[in-house]
């Protein structure tokens, strides 16, 4: 049980616990922040440091009953700091961002930018407001997709390649790009249907 060994070593203030913590999780979190969220090396360092520091500071308050709980906790902390960074960075660059339908093709008749206005993002970047009706509607539509369709969309939005998505989901890479495109279209159709009700 690697997580237990990490916790025990940190509790007795042994730096080996920190080494193990970094090797098992920190290095992967760093790669995730750089590869998937396009943070600079310094930004990613900061996010990883804050994540591991939070764990270290909070260890005495928690009893992790399993490796899955330990890792889930770490992930929540990581995403919390990523979210803070994402919102702050986007907020400071809002004037330079142009929100577009990159899939604005003939077979995509429903353009999402007509449903989700810039202000929905702007509210989120500034105040973490997620009650915007367009975002809620999108989330509801997303929940109606097949699990693999939802996964493909969410992973692709995080900049995973089609090869990586195929590996991670254990599915055939054959025509994954087409499947991604169809999932998007299905999602947009669902949004359009719910708007027309």
């Amino acid at each position: 049980m690697r997580y237990q060994s990490i916790i025990q070593l940190i509790e007795i203030k042994d730096p080996k616990g920190l080494e193990e913590l970094y090797q098992a999780y920190g290095s992967r979190f760093y790669a995730y922040a750089v590869q998937r969220w396009h943070l600079t090396e310094d930004e990613a360092w900061d996010v990883v440091y804050k994540t591991l520091e939070t764990l270290v500071l909070k260890l005495s308050n928690y009893q992790f009953q399993s490796q899955a709980l330990f890792e889930g906790f770490l992930f929540k902390v990581l995403v919390n700091f990523l979210r803070q960074h994402f919102r702050s960075k986007r907020n400071s660059h809002q004037g330079e961002i142009d929100f577009v339908d990159l899939n604005n093709e003939r077979e995509m008749p429903y353009q999402i930018s007509k449903q989700i206005s810039k202000s929905a993002f702007s509210d989120y970047y500034k105040t973490e407001t997620v009650e915007n009706p367009a975002l809620v509607m999108l989330n509801e539509a997303l929940s109606k997709l097949e699990p693999h369709e939802k996964d493909i969309l969410l992973l692709r939005a995080q900049n995973y390649t089609y090869d990586e998505i195929a590996d991670l989901l254990g599915i055939d890479n054959n025509q994954l790009k087409v499947k991604h495109h169809r999932a998007k279209q299905k999602l947009l159709n669902l949004i359009n249907e719910s708007q027309n009700k």
Partner: protein
């Protein structure tokens, strides 16, 4: 993260949904499994890695105020009741301070100074310990669950068993949020320094 000129609206909305859904324990469990099984092609430099370890080591080897208080009380072989009586602080406050469950700058400064004097504690180690306790309490605030009901787990919830949130000791602040920021802490410590060293 460079700000791209053109961002796909749908992908951006999906990113927001992902970031929000990860607040859910089930979704976090799935998310971390995907992250940990993803290929890694970027590594932190050895220098930066050493810096992380070094700074984390400083965090684990320093004492929180609660630990410092417990140590001082052990050294003097005294009890919560005696310390409470001498410092004129309620016994519950002494217990909260020992458990690092309240911000030290919520305690009236003159009484707090009296507590430190009674325990023969000097300003410097106290300041470091108070800052560590502050960081500990701030980190609890930072990850408080704040689920938005509109966002259910986005990843394959059904593949994983449900996991309950872990029990936690939320900071007991009595609603004194005005004191729970770094500026207030710095001012409190500056005043404490004056009181203890003048």
């Amino acid at each position: 993260m460079d700000a791209p000129k053109k961002i796909d609206t749908l992908d951006e909305a999906l990113r927001v949904i992902f970031l929000e859904s990860a607040k859910d324990t089930d979704a976090a469990g799935v998310g971390v499994q995907i992250l940990l099984s993803s290929p890694v092609s970027v590594n932190m430099s050895d220098e930066k890695k050493a810096l992380i370890i070094q700074q984390l080591n400083a965090v684990i080897t320093s004492l929180s105020f609660g630990q410092l208080l417990q140590l001082a009380m052990q050294n003097l072989n005294t009890t919560d009741e005696v310390v409470a009586e001498k410092s004129k602080l309620p016994i519950t406050v002494i217990a909260d301070l020992k458990n690092d469950s309240i911000y030290t700058n919520n305690v009236p400064i003159v009484l707090f100074k009296g507590l430190l004097t009674n325990l023969n504690l000097s300003f410097k180690p106290v300041e470091e310990a108070i800052r560590k306790t502050f960081e500990m309490l701030q980190s609890q605030v930072g990850i408080k669950s704040n689920n938005f009901s509109g966002f259910s787990p986005a990843f394959r919830k059904g593949y994983y068993t449900s996991r309950e949130l872990l029990s936690k000791n939320a900071p007991n602040t009595d609603g004194k949020e005005l004191f729970e920021n770094k500026e207030a802490l710095d001012k409190y410590l500056a005043r404490l320094n004056e009181l203890m060293n003048n």
